[in-house]
Amino acid sequence: MIWDLHVHFSNFKGRTPHEKMANAVKFADRMGIERFMLYLGFPPHPEDPTPEGLTKINNQVLEALQHWHHRAFGFVYLNPNHLEFSLKEFDRCVRDGPMVGVKLWIARKCNTPELDPIVERAASTNAVIFQHTWVKVTGNRPGECSPSEFAELAARHPAIPIICGHTGGDWEHGIRAVRAHKNVSIGIAGSDPTNGFVETAVRELGPERIIYGSDAGGRSFASQLAKVQGANISDEAKKLILGENLKRMLAPILKRKGIEA
């Protein structure tokens, strides 16, 4: 069973959310992926979207889920620079809608207090929280947080599970930054398939805290699956990372919504 934490519309052919989904599912089928988490709308993705922008983006995901709810789940894209609106948008898409998680990107540094109400609101419905992180030797974007900054957010909410997206890209750095925070899981998507990534994560975090995702269609499913399928770890660990960990994290919200998966 493979569940993919990290998929966007990018690079999938089609004029509508439905057409793009049909193509995404075709590739997912080729690669044995049963379900994937979908977030952000049609590219290009705005780094600091307005409330209207967020609505449009999230509506594209909602439209995609209409026909494909048996293959994909949606995460709502929120912007802490529009906090009041983001909380309402969360209620619309997750509390009262079909989405099951939150995607936070690079609009605002994730260690700032504006993130706290979002994290707490998400936790109140057991929504999965995904925060992008990178640490670039070439320099981060202004609102882009490093895994260490992310760790500050995680430390303020030790009882809330939260996902460190991309493991900082530089995973040797990222794994170390979140290691002590037991509420943190890492997403392994969206970096080169560097040999040793998943073995190191298993050694330092244990297999229960690692979640496979691809960042397709910008990335291939292939290069990202290889990080797990090619890793020198036990088959049980691979199963956890490829799907069971994510399924376990989603179980409370799926149960709350009465979704069987």
């Binding site: 999938f12 690669m31 030797v137 080169d192 499913f221 290889a226 090619g230």
Partner: protein, 256 residues
């Protein structure tokens, strides 16, 4: 059966890798039905004594390669008497080609010494592999940062180098567009897909360049071997296209 055109031995300077000892490398390649691996040395990236690197590479391939590892030595045209390194690669070590690392050796492709090296490789009928990237620029060691190699100058060199067989390795997004098309139609230029990204990447790539110019390259052991393998699975390809990518194109390229 697979001919993997992008394999390295010895040590990546920044990390030990599963597969950086030759017996485990061979076991991995064999388990995926690789019958031939074009093998460079990580030592060629930073060592100045490339003559010693090439000698060690040839020796390792001969004694530990089980007939599977074909050595591709490195030549650094900024070093004095690089011509002798090239000569030894061919005459002493019987290497069918060389692998160049311009970013780490500090020259651009409009450098006269690069042209001279290509010309001598052509005279010797050697294949030239050119590594555009070794690592994501964003995750390099802060004190050892290099940029992607700019391939634009190659286009101007091609008319003066008839007979050149050039393999571009670890291309990410560039060359692209017109330059990519011209490179592949105006010369015998090949590409691997170790760093090619995007869903269904290989099928999209062979809409841009002829299918006989795509070579299987895993960049093992720095990358998980399975990445390249799964990319072939992910793209919708005919059996003939798959066979050509897995081994046919590489075999034809090495035939005299």
């Amino acid at each position: 059966m697979i001919i993997d055109t992008n394999v390295y031995v010895s040590r990546w300077p920044f990390r030990r890798l599963h597969g950086d000892e030759i017996p485990e490398l061979i076991a991995k390649l064999r388990s995926h039905d690789v019958s031939q691996a074009w093998t460079g040395s990580f030592d060629g990236v930073l060592h100045e004594d490339v003559a010693a690197v090439n000698e060690q590479l040839a020796e390792s391939c001969r004694t530990l390669g089980q007939g599977l590892l074909i050595p591709f030595g490195t030549v650094n045209p900024t070093l004095p008497d690089w011509q002798e390194d090239l000569r030894r690669c061919q005459e002493n070590h019987k290497m069918p080609g060389i692998r160049l690392h311009p970013s780490y050796h500090g020259y651009t492709l409009d450098d006269q010494r690069f042209f001279d090296l290509l010309r001598q490789a052509v005279e010797r009928k050697m294949v030239v592999q050119l590594a555009l990237n070794m690592e994501d620029e964003r995750t390099q060691h802060p004190l050892l940062r290099v940029s992607e190699v700019d391939t634009a100058p190659i286009l101007r060199l091609l008319p003066n180098l008839p007979g050149l067989r050039l393999v571009i390795q670890n291309r990410k997004r560039k060359p692209s567009g017109k330059l990519l098309g011209r490179l592949s139609y105006h010369g015998e230029v090949y590409f691997d897909f170790a760093m090619l990204e995007g869903v269904g990447g290989i099928s999209k790539f062979i809409e841009e360049i002829p299918g006989d110019r795509v070579l299987f390259g895993s960049y093992y052991p720095l990358f998980y071997f399975e990445s390249a393998l799964l990319k072939v699975k992910e793209s919708e390809l005919s059996k003939a296209q798959r066979d050509a990518i897995f081994n046919g194109n590489a075999r034809l390229l090495l035939e005299p």
